[in-house]
Symmetry: C2
Subunit: 212 residues, 2 copies
Amino acid sequence: MTDTTSAAVAEASRRGRPRGSYAKTEARRHKILTAAFEVFSTSGYRAGSLKDVADKVGLTQAGLLHHFPNKEALLEAVLTLRDEESVSRTGALTAQGIEMLRGVVELARYNTTIPGLVALYCVLSAEATDPDHPAHEYFQRRYNWVRSTMTEAFDELARQGQLRSGIAPSTAARQLVALMDGLQVQWLLDNDSVDMPAEVVAFLEAITTEKF
Amino acid sequence: MTDTTSAAVAEASRRGRPRGSYAKTEARRHKILTAAFEVFSTSGYRAGSLKDVADKVGLTQAGLLHHFPNKEALLEAVLTLRDEESVSRTGALTAQGIEMLRGVVELARYNTTIPGLVALYCVLSAEATDPDHPAHEYFQRRYNWVRSTMTEAFDELARQGQLRSGIAPSTAARQLVALMDGLQVQWLLDNDSVDMPAEVVAFLEAITTEKF
DNA sequence: ATCAAAACCTAGTGGGTACTAGGTTTTTAC
DNA sequence: GTAAAAACCTAGTACCCACTAGGTTTTGAT
């Protein structure tokens, strides 16, 4: 365990040891992540450049690389931050059963307000289907986790007889995830062509006996 | 109209006019398109390079650019060829109503045998959601066409009372397209996680009264 | 006020990019 | 066989890439 109390930092400083980052540093790193997010969203990871990111923040490439050792680390940081934010924001995954599925509809609605984030995951998940992509395992883990979480929700519905017969909970989960991903592509290509939350509601009402 | 009869070519040759391409040229262009397809599939258009394509064919970059004036033209040629091939192969879209939907299931099954093509459209459609992408309009047109074709099929089902009540044909079409796209991402990330044709069948049987 | 570390820069490295100019080899009609 | 166009190459353009070495400026605890 690293001791990060101020007393310990002061002690370390006296001996010429590493000091913590400055007051503005956290804000700057956040700005960098926002910019990186925008760049990776529109160009993908491979075609998006560190210079594009640095320019958006008002830094040089080298300045940027002072905060993140390399491009891959930057991508990881973006993905981690976005996961934390969306989990803390929606708490979409703490709910269970039907309440969680209502949360999914709400998520679909919320997604229409953040096309950038939708584009990021859309472009990145497609790019990361290549086993050599640095985010390949991240997306494998992510999909496994989302699918299993959704399967649990449909399991509960099935136990209460609210899932239409002939539909396995795991199938419902896979399809719901697939549907949302696919709708996003169509929506990004042409916003007016798809009403995402309405489509999700229609799907859920088709496979369950509930109203959403 | 360009006159391309052999007599006309001969006449043109006598005058030092352009000649047609050589016997092997068509095969070579086809080899180039195959290679380009592979490169764009795994890396996308933006990150995929002409050198990668040229190397696969055993040409130099310059040699490749003798056949296609630039990278964008190469992409267009790949997309056009693939559309022609898949239309002529499956004839998936000549059928109507339920027969066409059965063709969609068959397409999902066939897709599992060509992960490269699936990856191409998956990566490219995501990348092309950016309005500045050269294939942006291509994908807009493509989705509009696919959606309207599918809507017609569901319309016919609805007329025959085979579409579950409460589901609009256009909704069914959008969802079927979205589902297939989304399933492909999950399948590319982990082949064993999804049985694509089975999922499509499950979806169709959930929204219709038919067996698939 | 001092001074060391953090933050950031300039100026590179070696490599890749799409694309071009101009020449050489290969094909093919005559 | 000849000649001209097609096919293809070498060698270059100008630019972008991720990343680094080493120096300068800024910060902040003492």
